[in-house]
């Protein structure tokens, strides 16, 4: 007789008897429970085939170890120390996309890296401070943008860079990105901010034959880079959204946390996340959606925040955050407008497009190609699925520079084979790497979209 036919057997109630004393294997803690994720791993190693670091460095044990295996080691041995190799993970998060079993690999990596930096890394070491400065890019960028021209000169001045390389481990080979002479936020204020945007959006709706008071409004998460370095991307976003009749607001915000996660600086990231979540959750409650133009920023708000921080409103922000072009694809006939449009200015050319790793998990890796291949006078070619190798601050460390360039090699080769000699990507640091490896100028899809459809 099988147990299904045994009338005394109820699989739902544990048949333990009175003497049973449950043992709490993992005592209460505030941490997220990673056990179900670790248990889901069936060791197929598909994550390892996705790891751009393991492909060029066999000393790196790969995501299967960094994630579920290391997590288990931590549970069985109280004295277990996180393996140093956790700092070699570049937080590209490709392993998440590969796992057929839903193991939250990047959440495990972020957690382990945070613990490593908290408990095992000397707070007096140069490396710690170098990483902390790199991770807090916004702080340096804010200072630099006060005197942008001076900063641009000093940051790429040979002797200064030699000293930075030797003392701090910031590679001499790279060019610092230029700071804009006017930040996006300053420009936005000069444009009249939210009130003026509402007016412009209403006019656009009338022009489009939509109700003047249609409920179309977004809160823009511009991030640090398009504020301090590439305000043209942020301006393109404003122009494109207002063209479709959306009112734009630009709320108070800090760094999304992407570089802090990658450097294990979870306290710094949490501070920023609190400000961002509070500021955007309020607007979401009023009917706004949060829109980011950087795919790593949107990834942080959508995925890393709810995986790492227990903050009021964090889930509402995750559910209502979108990448800028993705949102228009959902809510507007973007494809139709692009098919009717053409480009006649300096952007009428061939582009070599690279999909950032962080765009992949959001399902956005083919969005630009899909849209722009029907655009007149423009060509776009996907340069393949390899990682650019810079991974934010990763390639900005002297000891990792060579590895970063080795990872990028495949992308450089594919870019050189592509017809276009202008690059395109959503990610600011991928753009740096593309430019560094090929010398191509690199544009953001929003700039091309603006050229195509905004009068």
């Amino acid at each position: 007789m099988s147990d299904a036919e045994d009338p005394s057997f109820d699989p739902v109630a544990p048949n333990t008897g009175d003497s049973y004393e449950p043992v709490d294997v993992f005592p209460d803690s505030d941490d997220f429970d990673l056990r179900p994720g670790a248990d889901s791993c069936y060791k197929c190693s598909i994550c390892d085939t996705n790891c751009p670091v393991a492909e060029v460095d066999d000393d790196f044990p790969g995501p299967k170890f960094q994630g579920p295996e290391q997590w288990r080691l931590k549970q069985t041995d109280d004295d277990y120390e996180i393996d140093d190799s956790i700092t070699e993970c570049s937080n590209c998060m490709r392993c998440d996309d590969g796992c057929p079993s839903g193991v939250p690999l990047s959440q495990m990596h972020n957690t382990a890296r945070g613990q490593y930096v908290d408990e095992q890394m000397s707070k007096f070491s140069l490396k710690y401070w170098r990483n902390r400065i790199l991770a807090n890019y916004r702080t340096s960028a804010r200072l630099a943008s006060i005197f942008p021209r001076t900063a641009n000169f000093a940051m790429n001045f040979g002797p200064v860079r030699w000293v930075m390389d030797k003392t701090m481990g910031i590679p001499n080979e790279r060019d610092f990105p230029a700071f804009a002479t006017e930040t996006f936020r300053k420009w936005w204020q000069k444009q009249g901010g939210a009130d003026a945007s509402r007016e412009r959006a209403r006019e656009a709706r009338e022009r489009r034959g939509e109700p003047r008071d249609a409920d179309k409004k977004i809160a823009y998460f511009h991030g640090c880079y398009s504020n301090y370095n590439t305000p043209e991307v942020a301006k393109a976003l404003v122009h494109v959204y207002e063209h479709f009749g959306y009112e734009v607001v630009v709320p108070e915000q800090r760094c999304s946390g992407t570089p802090m996660f990658a450097n294990g600086m979870l306290d710094d990231a949490r501070r920023g996340a609190k400000v961002n979540v509070s500021s955007f959750a309020d607007l979401i409650e009023q009917g706004y959606d949060a829109i980011a133009s950087c795919t790593s920023c949107s990834m942080a708000l959508r995925k890393e925040y709810p995986e790492l921080f227990d903050i009021d409103g964090v889930d509402a922000v995750a559910e209502n955050t979108f990448e800028s072009i993705e949102y228009l694809r959902i809510h507007e006939d973007l494809k139709g407008e692009i098919e009717d449009a053409d480009v006649s200015d300096e952007l009428a050319k061939e582009f070599a497009y690279h999909a950032p790793c962080h765009a992949r998990n959001q399902g956005l890796e083919r969005q630009a190609v899909e849209l722009f291949r029907d655009l007149d006078n423009v060509g776009i070619e996907d340069v393949g699925e390899s990682c650019s190798g810079i991974s934010g601050t990763y390639g900005w460390k002297s000891e990792k520079y060579e590895k970063s360039m080795k990872i990028g090699e495949e992308m450089f080769e594919h870019m050189e084979h592509a017809e276009g000699t202008t690059g395109m990507t959503e990610c600011p640091t991928c753009a740096m790497q593309m430019e560094h490896g090929t010398g191509y100028e690199v544009r953001h899809p929003l700039e091309l979209l603006e050229a195509a459809i905004v009068e």
């Binding site: 190693s45 790969g62 057929p100 890796e365 083919r366 996907d382």
Partner: protein, 424 residues
């Protein structure tokens, strides 16, 4: 609004890719959604049609000859043997680096477990290893790569009675890679002849490997390696090694993670791109709107539900392993559209007590009409515009029959063709 297409394919494995490519080539605007990366990464890269009958007879010489005798409910019988032939023709056009299309009979290929598998198509990289060839073989394994134990594989092949002498040797991979180095690391080093340090000397990894194997080689005209010989330019790696060793080089297909599977994945996505198809991955389809027809489906991204719509839909989400069919103590179901999956009520009738017996669960899946539309328990189509392809279909035991790839290709092709016609 929703993100729109003519044909929406759900699932990025061999069935989903084949149906998306077919529909795109028919002129439909196609979108393929894959929750995770393609399951082709877990596939050996061998593409079978039918190796054994459901009764276990085989290995079969001609799979097409055996198809008319399969049960009526078998997917091959539903689409018909001519469709299977046409579909394999499409595969041959797409997977240009594949061999075996010159004949209808099965080839016999050695596997990394030392068995011999009947298969209809095989990667060019495996071609020189074919088991019906009587030239002697040297198999080379790497000490740091325990998944492929060359002497053990050779012994198994000898026991299987292959018509040639086969020896297996294990060498250290030049540069002393770590024991857990990834297959992609080997492939990258070999493809770029990357510099490694051998007893203090800097050498190209490929050259150094050839030198090591040269010492072990007697006069075998064929040398087989685990399937890590390059990624994008695997042919170049084999040619370079072959020249140094004076032998034909082949890869022995392996289990996951599988570079031959990964290369096939790349070829299929390139073909989809070339046909104008769109695709994205990373997020699951979780729900739909509709009655007799599906109006739109929802992709879940971190709690947000993104509407995606099409005229016609193809369900290619896989079987019990691929999570296109789910089960618990209460029953067996198809999770997205809740299509009917026939199964006995008592779950003790789902399996056989013999581990290698004929398990009824192996045949679980949706039951389709001739257009591959999943049917309700009453025998009516669940939806007018939903077709199913690949392992989500019931009625065949791919593991026992060696028919998984062929069923995916044939039903994917059929579903894609009909969907594109209906979408017009």
């Amino acid at each position: 609004m929703a993100i729109e297409s003519d044909v929406l394919v759900i699932g990025g494995g061999l069935a989903g890719l084949t149906s998306a490519i077919t529909a795109a080539r028919e002129g439909a605007h196609v979108r393929l959604l894959s929750y995770k990366q393609s399951t082709l990464r877990q596939a050996s890269g061998l593409v079978d049609v039918l190796g054994y009958t459901p009764e276990g007879e085989g290995p079969l010489t001609d799979p097409y000859e055996a198809i008319p005798a399969l049960p009526d409910s078998h997917p091959y019988r539903i689409v018909g043997v001519d469709t299977v032939r046409e579909a394999m023709g499409l595969f041959d056009e797409v997977a240009t680096d594949y061999r075996g299309g010159h004949t209808e009979t099965n080839a016999l290929l050695p596997t990394h477990g030392g068995t011999v598998k009947p298969t209809a198509r095989y990667p060019a990289g495996a071609a020189a290893g074919i088991a019906s060839d009587d030239r002697d073989v040297l198999l080379v394994g790497f000490q740091s790569m325990t998944d492929f134990d060359a002497p053990h594989v050779a012994a198994h092949l000898r026991a299987a009675g292959v018509p040639f002498d086969v020896r297996g040797v294990t060498v250290e991979f030049p540069g002393d890679l770590k024991a857990d180095a990834k297959v992609t690391r080997y492939a990258k080093l070999l493809e770029h002849n990357g510099t490694v340090s051998v007893r203090g000397n800097e050498q190209g990894a490929r050259d150094a490997l050839a030198a090591r194997v040269n010492r072990e080689q007697e006069d075998e005209p064929r040398v087989g390696f685990p399937a890590v010989l390059g990624d994008e330019d695997a042919g170049g790696v084999r040619a370079a090694l072959g020249e140094k060793l004076g032998a034909e080089i082949f890869e022995v297909p392996s289990g996951p993670p599988s570079l031959p599977g990964l290369r096939l994945e790349d070829a299929m996505f390139d073909a989809l791109d070339a046909a104008g198809g769109n695709f994205e991955s990373g997020n699951p389809v979780v729900d739909y709107d509709g009655g007799d027809r599906i109006e739109q489906v929802y992709v879940e991204k971190n709690g947000a539900k993104i509407p995606v719509s099409a005229n016609e839909y193809v369900l290619a989400t896989g079987g019990l392993v691929g999570k296109g069919v789910e089960s618990d103590r209460e029953g067996v179901r198809e999770p997205i559209f809740d299509c009917h999956v026939p199964h006995p009520e008592d779950r003790y009738e789902w399996f056989d007590l013999d581990v290698f017996g004929d398990h009824p669960f192996a045949l679980f899946g949706v039951d389709p009409d001739p257009e591959l539309r999943p049917l309700t328990a009453d025998g009516d189509p669940e939806f007018e515009n939903l077709r199913a392809a690949g392992s989500v279909l019931g009625g065949f035991d791919f593991a026992a029959e060696k028919s998984g790839s062929g069923v995916s290709i044939a039903t994917g092709y059929h579903a894609g063709t009909v969907a594109a016609q209906e979408a017009r």
